[in-house]
């Protein structure tokens, strides 16, 4: 596994990331590399700092120290405009979906487009792009509904469609299956798989859902006490004898 990694293109890299809130050290020298086209799963207990880590990645939080590079650009050194441009290459699925609740599904999907469509030289009409994105998550009928009229699973799908609409090269999923029933969770997992194969995107998936990890993960990193505790395939980790690792795969 590690041997083949050396030949692959790194699309996102975190090195020595440190982040603390007051005396609460959340991330302590965390390292991670995401290769083009792979699904990398990060697992960790609730409160271990997974959301903090991805928020540092997209510049929503400032790390205390460490380097974050995306497509070979160091995000901490970018000005606001370049950061905004870089962000269009990243789709972010929030833990709670984070749909704009004063806007319809259509307006939610149009929102990322209105600022960046011209610059990215996308020629399709906005309408067409919105329809496409909704179709790819199987929700064409929801176009004119408000987020309050959607179920949790539908919200997750719309949020996913919104994350996909600028055709990003990286998608970050923050707990895509948490809070969903097992069947809907399976559908979302299948969707994530199909996005990887049809768009060729790289994905960073935060989860503590073992089923999700088993299906989607090409590689898994365990985040324990702010560090990447161990790394490997699902096979390797689930057969590990380490007690802390076993606790996740029971």
């Amino acid at each position: 596994m590690t041997e083949s990694n050396t030949h692959r293109e790194v699309i996102l890299e975190i090195s020595n990331l440190q982040k603390s809130f007051g005396s609460n050290k959340v991330l302590d020298n965390f390292n991670l590399r995401l290769f083009r086209g792979e699904n990398l799963v990060v697992m960790g207990k609730s409160g271990s700092g997974k959301s903090v880590m991805v928020k540092c990645l997209v510049g929503l939080m400032e790390p205390n120290s460490g380097r974050i590079t995306i497509n070979n650009k160091d995000i901490t050194s970018l000005n606001q405009e370049s950061l905004d441009i870089l962000r269009t290459e990243i789709g972010f699925l929030f833990q709670g979906s984070a749909l704009y609740d004063s806007m319809t599904v259509r307006e939610n999907l149009e929102f990322p487009l209105r600022k960046h469509k011209k610059r990215l030289q996308i020629n399709e009409t906005t309408e067409h792009l919105v329809q496409q994105a909704l179709k790819s998550v199987g929700l064409s009928s929801a176009l004119d509904l408000m987020p309050s009229e959607l179920s949790g699973g539908m919200k997750r799908r719309v949020a996913l469609a919104r994350a996909l609409i600028l055709n990003p090269s990286i998608i970050i999923y923050d707990e895509p299956t948490t809070g969903l029933d097992p069947i809907t969770a399976k559908e979302i997992i299948a969707l994530m798989k199909s996005i990887q194969s049809s768009y060729g995107t790289s994905a960073l998936i935060i989860t503590h859902d073992v089923d999700c990890a088993r299906v989607v993960a090409d590689r898994i990193i365990l985040l324990i006490k702010g560090k990447n505790y161990i790394e490997g395939s699902f096979q390797e980790l689930s057969s590990s004898t380490d007690l802390q690792v076993r606790a996740f795969f029971k």
Binding site: K55, V58, G59, L60, Q80, D84, I85, R87, T88, I90, F92, F94, Q95, G96, A98, L99, Y100, D101, S102, F111, P112, K115, H116, R162
Partner: protein, 260 residues
């Protein structure tokens, strides 16, 4: 002992809060100055601010004019000065009571609404989502709302003043047989440019305070649904308090320049 520490703490916190608000205001002016401006959203917010408070302002204004005139009547008639009613009522309404009452009503309606709206967007990570999608949430949410309230409050106040004067004229018509034409002729004789100008200038500041405090409280809302309630509630409290401070300063300054 404990209570004096408590007071010191509270004073300290209030000062810190005022400092933060000043920074927030500074950030607002920066974002107004830098292109691009979200015209469409600004226009929509202007419409919402005006439309949502119109009825409320009309009702309070009407009752204000009515009650004010009814209660002043006995005193004025004691001095045989009922004919002074239009000028007395109009000057106090246009200069002071109209702007302050309308602004307070709008603080209750608009500040709390903005505080709750932006607060819940913060709590449910919608503001983060906006930021990640490459839109500056401060510009899209805060700049548009504060500008909208700043522009709309003077209009609402003028409207509120007009309705209040109408209420007052109605009382005079019913109780004193004064015709509307005569009443408003006297009103326009009484009001001068020096009454209108300071009142209008201060209305802009009232609007600014109402929008800014609502946005500030929402933008830095604490996590959880309790945070949203707190944001909305303290937006009203702070906005009302600061409105009075601004009013005091405005009266002080216009006293110098316009010789009340």
């Amino acid at each position: 002992m404990a209570s004096s520490i408590n007071i010191a703490d509270k004073t300290y916190n209030a000062l810190v809060e005022i400092g933060d608000m000043t920074f927030f205001a500074k950030r607002y002016f920066k974002s107004v100055g830098s292109a691009p401006i979200e015209w469409e959203e600004l226009w929509r917010q202007c419409y919402l601010v005006g439309n949502r408070s119109l009825l409320l302002v009309a009702v309070t204004g009407f009752i204000l004019g009515l009650v004010f005139t009814l209660q002043s009547r006995p005193t004025l008639s004691e001095f045989g000065a009922v004919s002074w009613m239009p000028s007395m009522v109009s000057i106090s309404i246009v200069r002071e009571i109209g702007p302050v009452i309308t602004a307070l009503v709008c603080a209750g309606k608009i500040s709390s609404g903005i505080g709750a709206e932006i607060g819940s967007m913060r709590v449910t990570e919608q503001i983060d989502a906006m930021e990640v999608s490459g839109t500056n949430p401060f510009k899209y949410l805060v700049m548009t709302r504060v500008t909208a309230t700043t522009l709309m409050l003077p209009l609402l106040i003028i409207f509120g003043d007009a309705v209040a004067l109408f209420g007052s004229a109605l009382v005079e018509y019913l109780k004193g047989g004064v015709s509307f034409v005569l009443y408003f002729n006297k009103v326009f004789d009484a009001i001068t440019f020096n009454d209108l100008l300071p009142a209008t200038i201060k209305s802009f500041f009232f609007g600014f305070v109402i929008g800014l405090i609502g946005c500030y409280k929402g933008y830095y809302c604490e996590k959880g649904t309790a945070g949203v309630g707190k944001a909305s509630n303290s937006a009203v409290v702070y906005a009302s308090m600061i409105l009075f401070v601004v009013d005091f300063i405005a009266v002080f300054i216009s006293d110098i320049f316009f010789e009340i």
